[in-house]
Symmetry: D2
Subunit: 475 residues, 4 copies
Amino acid sequence: VIEGKLREKCAVAAVVGNGDQDMAGYVYESLFAMQHRGAEASGIVSGDSEGRFNEHRGSGLVRDIYDLPAIQKLSGSLAIGHNRYSTNGSKTAHMQPYIDSSLEFGFAHNGNLPVVGPLKQLLEKNNIKTDRFNDSEMMGLAVARFIANGNSLPDAVELAYPYFQGAFSCVAIHDGMVVAFRDRQGIRPLALGSFEGGRVVASETCGLDIIDAVYDREVEPGEMIMLTKDGIESRRLAESDSKLDIFEFVYFARHDSNLYGQSVNAVRRHFGQQLAKEHPLTDHADNRIVVPIPDTSGPAAEGYAEAIGLSLRAAVIKNRYIGRTFMQPTNEVRSKQLRRKHNIIPGEVKGKDVIFIDDSIVRLNTMPRLVELAKDCGAKSVSVLIASPPVRFPDHYGIDTPDQKELAAAHMTNEEIRKQINCEYLGYLSLGGTVAATGIAAEKFNLSCFTGEYPISIGEHADHITRPVSMEGIE
Amino acid sequence: VIEGKLREKCAVAAVVGNGDQDMAGYVYESLFAMQHRGAEASGIVSGDSEGRFNEHRGSGLVRDIYDLPAIQKLSGSLAIGHNRYSTNGSKTAHMQPYIDSSLEFGFAHNGNLPVVGPLKQLLEKNNIKTDRFNDSEMMGLAVARFIANGNSLPDAVELAYPYFQGAFSCVAIHDGMVVAFRDRQGIRPLALGSFEGGRVVASETCGLDIIDAVYDREVEPGEMIMLTKDGIESRRLAESDSKLDIFEFVYFARHDSNLYGQSVNAVRRHFGQQLAKEHPLTDHADNRIVVPIPDTSGPAAEGYAEAIGLSLRAAVIKNRYIGRTFMQPTNEVRSKQLRRKHNIIPGEVKGKDVIFIDDSIVRLNTMPRLVELAKDCGAKSVSVLIASPPVRFPDHYGIDTPDQKELAAAHMTNEEIRKQINCEYLGYLSLGGTVAATGIAAEKFNLSCFTGEYPISIGEHADHITRPVSMEGIE
Amino acid sequence: VIEGKLREKCAVAAVVGNGDQDMAGYVYESLFAMQHRGAEASGIVSGDSEGRFNEHRGSGLVRDIYDLPAIQKLSGSLAIGHNRYSTNGSKTAHMQPYIDSSLEFGFAHNGNLPVVGPLKQLLEKNNIKTDRFNDSEMMGLAVARFIANGNSLPDAVELAYPYFQGAFSCVAIHDGMVVAFRDRQGIRPLALGSFEGGRVVASETCGLDIIDAVYDREVEPGEMIMLTKDGIESRRLAESDSKLDIFEFVYFARHDSNLYGQSVNAVRRHFGQQLAKEHPLTDHADNRIVVPIPDTSGPAAEGYAEAIGLSLRAAVIKNRYIGRTFMQPTNEVRSKQLRRKHNIIPGEVKGKDVIFIDDSIVRLNTMPRLVELAKDCGAKSVSVLIASPPVRFPDHYGIDTPDQKELAAAHMTNEEIRKQINCEYLGYLSLGGTVAATGIAAEKFNLSCFTGEYPISIGEHADHITRPVSMEGIE
Amino acid sequence: VIEGKLREKCAVAAVVGNGDQDMAGYVYESLFAMQHRGAEASGIVSGDSEGRFNEHRGSGLVRDIYDLPAIQKLSGSLAIGHNRYSTNGSKTAHMQPYIDSSLEFGFAHNGNLPVVGPLKQLLEKNNIKTDRFNDSEMMGLAVARFIANGNSLPDAVELAYPYFQGAFSCVAIHDGMVVAFRDRQGIRPLALGSFEGGRVVASETCGLDIIDAVYDREVEPGEMIMLTKDGIESRRLAESDSKLDIFEFVYFARHDSNLYGQSVNAVRRHFGQQLAKEHPLTDHADNRIVVPIPDTSGPAAEGYAEAIGLSLRAAVIKNRYIGRTFMQPTNEVRSKQLRRKHNIIPGEVKGKDVIFIDDSIVRLNTMPRLVELAKDCGAKSVSVLIASPPVRFPDHYGIDTPDQKELAAAHMTNEEIRKQINCEYLGYLSLGGTVAATGIAAEKFNLSCFTGEYPISIGEHADHITRPVSMEGIE
């Protein structure tokens, strides 16, 4: 496979009990809460303090993959788990966690390695043909080889760490220990919590809440924590140079999660308030309604409506049994499923000046259709406000953005996009406003989707980055 | 099985093309849009104008049961379908549509027959032992026997109709024809629409919208419509005495559906506005937030917040991969899954005077837990407003309410319920206010869950109805 | 489907206990013993004396289809079962027993109806489109309709019986009773036995032996027996005009079964002894070996070898995990699997004058290949003796012989066949000798495969019967 | 697991093409022909000359596990396969071939290692916990680790070979090469053949015949052969000290296989001839019949009957759809299935002096039942002749004999066994006669089941060997 092509953007979780109680059920709950980060496959590997381990992996939703016998089989007081989002290959290939059953070793990865050359060389030196493995599996293979050579799990991770070049938040299990570690930029999140029965690591804090765990802190960028029955230790693998992906705030994380101490929900409402400052649509206030495009833009719509003093109307209905558009691997499927995803309540928009609020525009698949639907239902006018800047560059760190050529804002000016949407007004939140709304300094973020500045080398991928027709809203 | 015990509250759909194009895919879409009416099983039966038929049925969600080969196998320009909600038996038993493969006859039913004695006698006279069949299957069997005796589909339905005593909206297919018919009270909804390729019948108008069909009218209570390739005919089977179940507005229908010409969403907002009149919590306005309990109470919360002038906050997060509480067959499972269903965003409620808006209280499983969670998150006070009257009587017409003894309001005064919820204020919408908000006359509704007055005989079930401790709010 | 095209040649079994004990396990054993009569599918329907019934059907071998939960589910002291041999359609279609679940009626058929016109008319008069049903299903449908009209099971069978034109040995279950009945010629066998726990009916006596049942008698041609918890009754449906299919002795029945009081094994040895009279290969006796072609011709080879005084050698090995050639639906598959079916032990045949004994030659697929193999292994000469006459006419009563044009002996003289086999000598048993060896009078047999005289009308099929090039060995 | 407890006695096969044609289909045929050596599971691993590999494994019969898509997926001109017989664990665990997918390495083993201590130490030194692996998997793991350390496949096998202490005939695949090797005693057979398209290795020569391959030679004890697209090479891993398991002749191999140049069928007939010398039952010759107990004892019965001049009668019928008794893991299942396995044809034995010939007596489960059946059917007398000596010691080299305490002859004298069988005469073939009949020198055999002399150390197992009550027939 082509380098970095099998991207995965996912959730990881790990629980280590302080006694002998089985912990797979806790990982299950945590994965369940993080279903939004990956609905194509899921897996859990459990082990006991003696190192024996069990595994269960499958395709589909968390609730469908596991049943009581599956969870009961996953005995042991240590467990790691993974939700997988998307691959461009078969659904059963590349399931995580990666497993080496002879070593009783399991490994799960959230993120993406844009540069895998050094890792491949390491493996090939160890007599392993790499062409059938994706980046996550190669990471697992590398750690496994160091273990097979006699190293402990944390030592093996430390030895393999320099070969991992990209974004990764990982958990691994072997021989009575779980480790969790992040790349030094900390592009993908990873939170540490504790509860009565032990400790938990999860990609988002909603994966802690669900098991009544208290958030303790982030796993630091460049840090590895080691969890056993007896407690927790930490080892620094690299200097921290924190670059959290701002897209976690914009779109990816759940409303009720916290990132770096900031409530995702609050940040999103700030996006709306900031939008109100940058794009105050104050005329015809009596006839205006603010309509969030479900599911992510609700708080921004609340913030906007309140700031201006407009009515909020949930006039766009999302069929609750469908994942969001982003979740489907191919573009063809996406458009086909659009109308099953959204319906508009005609009575709400008829005769109104409608303001749609959405979190972002990527391909421009959904919005033109929604505007058309709204106008068919009698909307007098439709304005579109986007609670983030234009996405003009592809992600290479674990979010499945399309190729740059499919990004609307890479090839069109804002005005051209507005025309294609066929709305009366289109406003993006500025980059400055976006960052300001988070309450975190700009240098702490990976902003590459907006700016094209990649904090970690993306290797050969850089050759395919082209200059957008406009950088409006960024400077 | 005990009479009426295998209740099903479901969706039906039927599509008849005006040409030779296969129509199962349209029924699929319609069932998909009505997934909220039944997520345990689904089935489609298709036929062509020559009467040949095919069927596909399975357990689970619509999107999981059908795939391309399944839909392709369902050839023919006529098709009916069904989503099943719940039974108290095995998941694979009692699937709908009911099928008689030798007659190439299919039948699907939304509703419930509280009285099945005459129907049983009819079948037993025909040498059919009825004890393993539920009400829907007995209805299908009765029609099938009349067909086997040489009657056409509409004649067979007409002959069987007098034996159907209860609530039913049905579709059936046989020999190049689809029929759709309702009980004379029209307790369960059934809408008729048309589109370029033919005609469609569906339990809710959202099942019409999704295939771009235009709503034409209700199938009238007591009416049977007959759809063939060549057009539509109507036959009256009983005088209409319309008694739509008000719970369709309160809870069951999708926001974006219309019932009897009224937008469900608008009615629900009126519920909120009416709540504002009956329970105006106007003090501490600056510190108050209105929080809808997802998914149904959003419009009521909008209506309430706007009427009083309070902030609306989506502070309760529902895990989007779980169906609503109502959807799970047993109480035990319900409580176990509660915390997977809802999370509260602490930052939103901390220090606030919170007003929770919910559509109804049935068993009192969820609300005490949510209030506890809110207070744990630092809410200063919690008020609970319910956008409908207390449910004090069981439904017998196709909504799976529990036995009366499990209904909180049947055994507790409002004040006792408030104490159990542990909230500072509890207010129900009055019955008068509820009806007024719909814009429809009270006599057009089945209000039995609130009043205990059953418009259709519930037979022996009446013996088990006891007098609630209070009828507060009803008159 | 074309009349009579979906032929099935199968086994049926039924057990009725004299108490409340479940009997499905007994039917299972009986079906197991009769696996050789049909290996494509199997099904059991059980019922109790109250008429409740259960069913389990599947594709494949008896041992693979049923497991403990399946058998346990099949509760009730009455049970019928069926092994299916072959259809020209899909494997899952046309499974037996035929079931009408609303009537709790099950029906299984061994045989074939060459003429189905009257039966079709009966069904179509009852509003049943017949084009998707095979003969067995139409028989079941007919009985079911008479039951639905208020008749008891035996009355319904009696009413339907005149419409059944062909060969059939059937069992059926309904309302606490099992019936077993045969066509008036009794072309397919059906034996009745009893054991401590009740009574049993099975196509062959090996289906009785396996449950330690004692053979009582044949179900008489034209007779229906009725079995309930309380005992057995008999009713005559037609005059008996017994015409057992001689192919049951030649090939189809198991060695250890009895037919009409004659041991199948003994009759087959008599075939060998008779072959010795008609084709005494007495020269080079010291160098001759008699080699049976497994599995059916062992006794004939024993009889021949002993009669002449030659050595018997099991030099042809049949892979025991493959069914016999007959068992595969298509000719293409047959030839492909030939070499997996047989191997020859070179040391046994090297330098020898080999006499192959086989039960019959149908298509001439196997024998030329075996002779070639033998000669490759060094056989000095190969003679082939067939323990039955040339098959020159197709069967229409439930054995899946090919079209007449595929029957070698319909288009070739014996000498031409010998040349194609490339053997030094070819001898068939004469028709007279075949019949004499059974000890039963010729008029008691259906000999149509050899003579072309069909004792029951085969309707339009007669138009396709052509005159063989030779009738050598028949007159 | 306890050392050596997970015994497997199986078949292995490997095919290497001399071009690019896929070879998995050939391995499939070979495994098919060797189905009798293991019917619980089967697997194939294929690879191409570039080292890429594919695998397919499943539970059940060869014909059920593989279908066309499975075989097509197994692309590549190299392939190895395995049939598994029995484990005392779950059916899905311990499937072979063992696979290391990161190394693209596959390994299959026929035999058993009674001593695994050194192998375990090797693995544990490599950080591999061994307690969940059986002997075959540990062998695979050991070779895999040497490969992971940079060795070629043959070098890795050579490095691991000293740690393999027991009986093993193995095939392995990696990086464009297949190797096949045997323990230095050659206890389990392994034959090498060639055909037009390449070379084949199989446990028995019937696995060569089926693909029209010519037998070239044995893989020598202590030898490893290396097969690539380009040809064959050989390497000696240990001095040969040939000790073929005599049980391959007695029972295990197929009639039509050859072992060390001897026809298994001929040797078995010699067993019968030798029995005639040692136990000539010549009186009442006219009334005597010789009856082989299927499936293995046919040739011995032929030999005996001819030598004495008695009639051979196949009066015991084995249901052809059941594997032999040996094949079922538990004793309980065995007895339950006995009657489904055998039936006796009453007419054959009635009034006769019956001589049963069987290959061996192990647990004494079957024979008493058969004698009882024969007498129930009217046999005048029953003699039992066993074509091998009494089995008084357990096998430790890959045949699943029971614990010594379950071996009848370990605890009873021959006369006691005769009484338990309730036969008039019981005769075993002497050890000397058994060996003489093979035409091979006694020192070339592993005779441990008869003599208790184990040619390879069985380690701690020796502590559990007790002295039989009698050694009659051995000295």
